[in-house]
């Protein structure tokens, strides 16, 4: 659960500005971006996601590195992705 997983913001939800559709390894889910205030998040930005919230903004290159790392870390990551798929944040 303490894993941070990177994802890319696809769109900021117009009616709920704290939520963004984020693509994580092909899985698209709503992620809360309300903790990122210093530098307004926008589509195309990569973020580090932890339990449904973006904790920090990261650049694309770093995100890819973290993803490749995480894809290799095996079951813990699979569990995290499975859990994310179950998520229905609105």
């Amino acid at each position: 659960m303490c894993l941070g997983i990177p994802g890319v913001i696809v769109e900021i939800l117009p009616d709920q500005p704290d939520l963004a559709t984020v693509d994580v390894s092909g899985v698209r889910r709503a992620i809360n971006i309300g903790l990122i205030t210093e530098d307004e998040p926008e589509p195309g930005d990569w973020i580090l996601i932890h339990v449904g919230f973006a904790l920090s903004k990261i650049d694309e290159v770093e995100a890819k590195a973290a993803m490749d790392f995480l894809e290799g870390i095996g079951q813990a990551y699979e569990d995290e992705i499975e859990a994310l798929k179950e998520s229905r944040i609105e």
Binding site: M1, C2, L3, G4, N32, G34, L35, I36, T37, E38, L48, H50, V51, G52, F53, L55, S56, I58, D59, V61, E62, K64, A65, A66, D68, F69, G72, I73, G74, Q75, A76, D79, A83, L84, E86, S87, R88, I89, E90
Partner: protein, 375 residues
């Protein structure tokens, strides 16, 4: 690909390993603690200890939030879950953690409604769609996770939800590190600092480790080369007679952390006078509870909590493992009575627990060494 190859490149790792070896003074031994369970996972998964000289030892710390939850809090959660009309929600990692009366899975099998969620916001949705039920989120985690709980509570308040509450078990990393530093059992030369906790709290809270205790700390990322580089930075500091806080994970961790995350934690939660940690015992001002202003979302005020202290099973040595005094394989029940399928202690449950990480990855390389040594 750039960065990916760099962070995982075996050639670079070997080069880094050679440089690490050259930084070590002959005849001196070095012991570094990686505070975070995520780092422990990386170290075993990638066999990083094999890259280090024999006189550099990595010690696993208390930074696995599932591992440090005492059995009594598991029992308290189950007690709440058994109350009429309650839906208990929790991160999946908690489900198999044994309490004095079994795990959440055991309780669920006996009829309690305990559900796994990915995010506290999923628990909030369950509350919205089940207005006739009392939905409780069993919140665990260090400062990495606490902002999510805080944001969820604020959202519940904004929505006027009356059937949602938090059973708050959030802990803070600094008192745990201080407890380790004050422990007479362990002599450490430095710390590999937790990456994602630092995303929230930043690097400044570690200053006392360098200043008062004279130990270097390097906040580290989670790639294999991140960790090797952090060890390199620690050894460089020691070779130069420095003890400072440095940030190897600067691409993700701002020096001052995430101010909004700290603000929402402070708005909704406050330090408890003390909290019982598995392995480390009772530590003052080491955990968070819900503030009076948000009492309506505090499960500890809504429900009667037994608050029973449950001693760890005698055979379990998670406490020593969490303090870094014992290596996982030195525990009497490791890999025999205690396995990830039938865990006795918390360190064998979470993928970030030292015992689970070592059981899944490390023991094979150790077995190979033993076979090579003994034919």
């Amino acid at each position: 690909m750039r960065y990916v190859d760099e962070y995982r490149d075996a050639g670079k790792a070997r080069a880094l390993a050679a440089s690490i070896a050259s930084l070590c003074e002959p005849g001196r031994s070095y012991k570094f603690m990686e505070v975070c369970g995520g780092h422990t996972h990386t170290i075993y998964k990638h066999g990083l200890e094999d890259y280090l000289p024999e006189n550099v030892t990595l010690v696993h710390g208390p930074g696995c939030p599932v591992c440090v939850i005492p059995m009594g809090r598991v029992d308290d959660t189950i007690h709440i879950a058994e109350q009429p009309g309650v839906i208990m929600t929790s991160f999946g990692d908690m489900m198999r953690v044994p309490g004095g009366r079994g795990s959440f899975f055991d309780s669920k099998a006996q009829g309690a409604d305990i559900r796994m969620v990915y995010s506290p916001l999923d628990a909030l949705k369950i509350a919205r769609t089940n207005p006739d039920k009392k939905v409780v989120f069993m919140a665990i985690g260090f400062e990495t996770t606490a902002p999510s709980t805080a944001m969820t509570m604020l959202r519940a308040k904004a929505e006027g939800l009356k059937n949602f509450s938090i059973f708050c078990n959030h802990v803070t990393i600094i008192p745990a590190i201080k407890a380790i530093l004050d422990s007479p059992d362990l002599r450490l030369d430095g710390f590999i600092g937790p990456g994602h906790v630092s995303t929230v709290i930043g690097c400044r809270p570690y200053d006392f480790i360098a200043r008062t205790y004279g130990k270097p700390l390097v906040v580290a990322g989670f790639e294999p080369l991140d960790i090797l580089q952090s060890i390199h930075m620690l050894l460089t500091q020691l070779a130069e007679g420095r003890s400072e806080v440095e940030n190897q994970y600067g691409r993700v961790v701002p020096w001052d952390g995430n101010p909004k995350a700290l603000k929402v934690i402070n708005e909704t939660m406050e330090l408890r006078p003390y909290f019982e940690w598995r392995g480390l015992g009772s530590i003052s001002h080491s955990a968070l509870r819900v503030r009076d202003a948000h009492a309506e979302f505090d499960a500890e005020r809504i429900f009667e909590i037994p608050g029973v202290r449950v001693a760890d099973p005698k055979a379990c040595q998670c406490g020593e493992v969490l303090k870094g005094v014992l290596k996982p394989w030195e525990c009497k029940v490791f890999g025999t009575a205690c396995t990830p399928e039938t865990p006795i202690g918390t360190c064998m449950v979470s993928s970030e627990g030292a015992c689970a990480a070592y059981y899944n990855f490390g023991r094979f390389s150790r077995e190979r060494v033993r076979e090579a040594t003994h034919g």
